[in-house]
Symmetry: C2
Subunit: 190 residues, 2 copies
Amino acid sequence: MAQTLAPGLDRDRLVAAAFAQLEEDGLDRLSMRRLASRLGVQAPALYWHIGDKAELLGLMAREIYAAAYADAPIAGHWQDWLRRFGRALRSSFAARRDGARLCAVARPPTPTDPAAHADRIAAPLTALGLDESRALLCQAAVISFALGWESFEANGPMRDFLREIMDFDASFEKGLDALVRGLATAREET
Amino acid sequence: MAQTLAPGLDRDRLVAAAFAQLEEDGLDRLSMRRLASRLGVQAPALYWHIGDKAELLGLMAREIYAAAYADAPIAGHWQDWLRRFGRALRSSFAARRDGARLCAVARPPTPTDPAAHADRIAAPLTALGLDESRALLCQAAVISFALGWESFEANGPMRDFLREIMDFDASFEKGLDALVRGLATAREET
DNA sequence: ACCTGAACACCGTTCAAGT
DNA sequence: ACCTGAACACCGTTCAAGT
């Protein structure tokens, strides 16, 4: 389990090991001590490379979001992109155990200029013709929907219950579709 | 802080004290030990009244959902009810510190007959004319949207960031409106 | 029936000290 | 520069024992 090899410990190796640990044990059992022992090191050693556990979770969340953006190339009508991004985001949450819960808890890792970050979030939709405030609304809505949906999916007993009473996958698709269509027909305001 | 008075310790008093503790210290610091000391008792005493911490969180989550349903009387067009319920649910999440995170983690507290529980969830919308599967889709979509939205809101640094780049309250309203309108115009399928 | 005391197996984080 | 050892102040939960 613990490979003492390759002592070169850095942030990337740390994040990778954290994902492996997450897959094996889940978010509740992802501890600095267990992570350290997987890396063949004592827990305090991690704090040389990272400020605290919250920073580690933030880096992990960023990777989950990045994977979703990578899966949704910017092309076509903005509605198509938004639907595609919604699907990709849910897949990305689901690809990692407790992915949605992790992203709900994680703090945004870049405390840099908020306006610049907002531009980056809005970028795919502004590139397809939306103005920035509308782009941010669409992103916030789709991201919230996907995060909420996968939060239930990631909750074991809740998922079991939901899977018994409805087709959870098909329903996500329908809900996402409804949301995007609604956003497209919203009354234009200030 | 610790009131040793009134030794009658039961589930209701326990849940009430847990909410008070949540308000003061947040979900991360809501521990069985702190809760016990607030009740003037040792931690193991709690386990006489409750199976484990997860059950306690489940009871708390149920109360949060119940408050939302209580705030949305069943009347008018189903779309109006759904919008109203969405708003009420977000308010209910926001009314308790870390309310959304709590509900994301909590397990459904009633391991009773799933079909009967589904009927109860769908009830407000079936009463207003929707068939059950459509009602469940609408509920799942709106609940997911509200939960996701408030998860970000409940995340301190994330909220600060979002509040700087958009009008988070007005955007919720617009997003919810879009979702409900989209659900109303969905193509009818099996 | 309801609660305590003591214990088990853990946490995140700090910090002097080692190399 | 990078890591260890020891410690601090915690966790959830179990269980014999008290009343």
